[in-house]
Amino acid sequence: MNAAVGASRKMTSVPPSEPKGEPLAGLQTRLEVRGLNFYYGSKQALFDVSLIVPIHRVTALIGPSGCGKSTLLRTLNRMHETLKISRLAGKILLDGEDIFRQDVTRLRRRVGMVFQRPNPFPKSIFDNVAYGLRVNGYKGSIAEAVEKSLRRSALWDEVKDSLHKSAYAISGGQQQRLCIARALAVDPEVLLLDEPCSALDPISTAKIEELLFSLRDNCTMVIVTHNMQQAARTSDFTAFMLEGHLVEYQPTEQLFTNPSDPRTEAYITGRFG
């Protein structure tokens, strides 16, 4: 989907301190970021970012390398805390609750993450998916939950007869779907995906994009992607970031056909990136 270099363009400039992107009427807010400033040691990586992630929709974060989209994603489940030099100012709310006032293990069950390179544990396929269930004290039938999760991630048919094989015995694309199944097993309200297809071949990528589409109905997703076409294909809302700033946040179709910021337009037409 190419940006139409149309004569008429909405030139509304959105003041940076207001939450951008009013969700469509009727959509609840799942995650809200308010005035987020993020530092790696003394270097600032995010400048006053504010964003509303609506429920049951896919929100994409795009931008050139180093723009801070992965950094932003990782704050949403407090994964930035694994690096001791990271500092953060601002608020992030999940369903209205400040995530920094919650127990982090509880938060991470509610906000799951899929990583750039598939990273299954050195365990069987079954045990990979079951890990989150066991660790969080799932009281129901683990086998059923594992099957449900593998079905949701469109992997069940391919692995149902070899659940006890090592997770490394399957292909890269299948491993990534396994990681998605693993994340879904704990029934998160939000799923964060950090460039989930960048290490995969086009066919696996297509399968995963289909998968994301099918998950929309009961899962809110935030996806970071380098691939604009992917963002355009899979997301409902897109946020364009540049050098730590949130430049524009619009419903996807609008951002790609009618961007309001010239920088956005420059990026999506490939003038830099």
Partner: protein, 327 residues
């Protein structure tokens, strides 16, 4: 070299046989030969060592065969050599040392790899590597004057009082014992477990931890359920290395084990070990078969440590390779 133009035909080139010194001046062949000789001497020495051990233990091997390892009596006067008490002592003291050193060492390694900041981790690892450099006789010295009295006056009474119903902890205890030797050995092998385990733990890819944390694990859960299992073969390798060290340790053990060739269930009893008996009796071995029996013990020690070390290296290499690229 004269350059001939194509028009002229110059004189036929004369081949001068190059003198020895001319060849030497270029030297690469000679250098190759010299360095090869030195490298080959390593092979020579090792082969000689194995051969010597074998040939100088022929008498008892001929006389006792496999009974050497099973026999309970070690009586040089009667020329009866049964090595079972020494094998037992070596195994027990090493087992005790592993039981103590592995949790301690693994715990310290986890701390250094997962919790400590890189600076602290490096400093403390430096200290640990210094510990590995402390001569064993120093450990023996502290063994005699600190560990043995400690076992005799504090530890043994405590163990007998609380766990004395177990055959493992029956008195009387004079301090010198399997337990004392196990304690000293434990302190000696902990540095190996810590430094190797720390390295393999650090080598676990970051995104394994992150995946575990992102699923809601606590830090301990991600460490214990994901990182440690990932590095398990390397950790096991470090344990094998430590075990090999413990089995061959001589002076520290003989200074605290009591040097009594007996098999006792109680850890508080004095005992003996293969290396200790060699150290103590080698100089006094008058008869040939006596000396050769001790050499045969040395051969046993050699074989066991060889196998263990080999396994250890394979295991450590396994962690590096097989968990390789998942994608």
């Amino acid at each position: 070299m004269a350059i001939l133009t194509s028009a002229e035909k110059g004189p036929e080139p004369v081949v001068v046989p190059r003198s020895f010194f001319a060849r030497m001046a270029e030297g690469d062949q000679v250098a190759h030969a010299i360095t090869l000789t030195f490298a080959a001497s390593v092979l020579l020495i090792t082969t000689l060592l194995v051969v010597t051990l074998w040939t100088h233990s022929s008498l008892p091997r001929a006389k006792f065969g496999w009974a050497f390892f099973v026999g309970m009596v070690w009586d040089p006067v009667a020329e009866q050599f049964g090595a079972r008490p020494f094998i037992y002592g070596t195994l027990i003291t090493s087992a005790v040392s592993l039981v103590l050193a592995v949790p301690l060492g693994l715990g310290a390694a986890i701390f250094l790899a997962e919790l400590a900041s890189p600076k602290i981790s490096d400093w403390l690892t430096f200290v640990v590597e210094l510990l590995a450099a402390v001569p064993s006789v120093i450990y023996g010295l502290l063994g005699i004057f600190v560990v043995v009295p400690f076992v005799r006056t504090v530890l043994a009474p405590m163990l007998i009082a609380s766990l004395g119903f177990l055959p493992l902890f029956r008195g009387p205890c004079y301090g010198v014992s399997f337990l004392a030797a196990g304690l000293v050995l434990a302190i000696m092998i902990v540095p190996f477990i810590v430094s190797v385990s720390r390295e393999v733990l650090l080598a676990v890819p970051r995104d394994q931890r992150e995946a575990a944390l992102a699923l809601g694990s606590t830090r301990w859960e991600s460490t214990w359920k994901i990182v440690v299992p990932y590095a398990l073969s390397g950790i096991l390798g470090s344990v094998f290395l430590a075990l090999a060290r413990a089995l061959g340790e001589t002076v520290a053990v003989t200074m605290v084990v009591g040097n009594v060739p007996q098999i006792q269930a109680s850890l508080l009893a004095p005992g003996y070990s293969i290396a200790a008996v060699i150290a103590n009796e080698f100089v006094e071995a008058t008869a040939d078969i006596y000396l050769q029996a001790l050499v045969e013990l040395g051969l046993v020690l050699f074989l066991v440590t060889f196998i263990l070390n080999g396994l250890a290296r394979i295991l450590i290499l396994l962690t590096a390779r097989h968990r390789g690229s998942p994608a």
